[in-house]
Symmetry: C2
Subunit: 243 residues, 2 copies
């Protein structure tokens, strides 16, 4: 029988790392998506199962806290488990272990289950047996909370949503939000510091061919509020902590 | 003892596929990079080994021919092997196998070895023992040849090279060239057809913060010539065949 905690190994390939030869936040986010998908699939709650029930998982919030980024040509282990299930959301946790067995970070994420046609939330508790997989393994960071976008933030960049940006749900891929967010910071900052905290709230879908703008404000030393908008409608809010 | 052919398994994760629920060309390119890196690493010619000799591998040309794209939640096997080694280049081939054991494509790639400091080509034959790994396994497509950019092509898009675009060599990541190229085609084309042939010549490095422009011309039915330029200097040329 499968345990409640899934452990998956990923390699930090040299030619897919950033200029520092280190894993990137979107890369780690991609591993998280892969591990979540695999963990759910193995336990009967993966994409195919959900589609057969006319549903898909939608990532709603995430809180990622990292003490550093693994080097190229190393392997990491991602441990993931479901920590809570309620009507609206399931909470999934992650622990990141480097190849020396040291933990370099944790994450918590909230997922909603929406109806494929209506795009409206469905009751997660209706997914029979899902609560059986809840684990009480410790995840020593806060749950992914609600982020209020900063006032008076300034336009940092804008982009058109393209083919490579959209996922199987036909909206901006959860990891592409992160990629567009991390890209607004200058390379000099990556040379001196690292993003140690990344919190995100996905609000509504970024659609193909629409123009999205990113607004930025340094709300306190090393802490930035970022938000993405389309025609003044909030698409996504994030808080980035550099150290 | 390791054989000359490396076989690696990759999963087409639902939430990382395109809107059709199928693998994307940049995703397949990423798997190729991962398999190439792994195959080389296992045989003593990977990134770390090369860096210890003050060298890095640079992807120069690629010819990818696919009969289709694998679906989400399936696994593919990538077979890769070195088919030729000469002073200037090593040729690496790929065969793509779906989870039913059917081959859905092949690729050939040319790699140069450059000096980390001078960025100039070094003699690949100096890498002792590398020729021992040459395999005569068949790869039923043409070698990646030289592509001449079309005349009178039109500006299709332009972009600034950002943090997420650059790799450990501090130039535009080989797969990001592909991502920027595939993004210039409208979604309607992806709904009706597929990219069945993708050939690329990497000419010079796309640098951080520089603006790159993409020029496009349909040179014959379903065949497009694409090229990337910076200040009228050719960065990269590609030929894309839709079917």
């Amino acid at each position: 029988m499968l345990g409640n905690i899934g452990t998956y190994t990923y390699t930090i390939d040299a030619y897919l790392t950033d200029f520092r030869g280190k894993a990137t936040l979107p890369m780690i986010g991609g591993f998280m998506l892969q591990a979540a998908t695999r963990h759910a699939e193995e336990r009967g709650f993966g994409y195919s199962c959900m589609v057969s029930k006319q549903r898909v998982w939608v990532l709603t919030r995430m809180n990622i806290q990292l003490s550093g980024y693994p080097d190229n040509d190393t392997q990491i282990k991602l441990h993931t488990w479901v920590s809570d299930v309620n009507k609206l959301f399931t909470e999934r946790c992650f622990a990141f272990e480097d190849q020396n067995g040291n933990y370099f970070g944790y994450a918590r994420s909230l997922w909603a289950s929406i109806d494929i046609q209506t795009r409206r939330a469905t009751n997660v508790l209706e997914l029979e047996g899902m609560t059986d997989f809840i684990s009480d393994k410790e995840c020593p960071i806060d749950s992914a909370g609600k982020i209020v976008p900063a006032k008076d933030s300034e336009l940092a960049d804008s982009f058109i949503v393209k083919y490579s940006d959209i996922d199987i749900n036909k909206h901006l891929n959860s990891m592409k939000y992160i990629e567009h967010f991390v890209d607004i910071f200058p390379l000099e900052l990556y040379q001196k510091k690292e993003i140690k905290g990344f919190e995100i709230n996905y609000i509504t879908e970024g659609k193909y061919a629409s123009e999205l703008s990113i607004f930025k404000k340094e709300i306190s030393d090393n802490i930035y509020s970022l938000d993405m908008r389309h025609d003044d409608k909030a698409i996504c809010v994030a808080r980035v902590t550099w150290k």
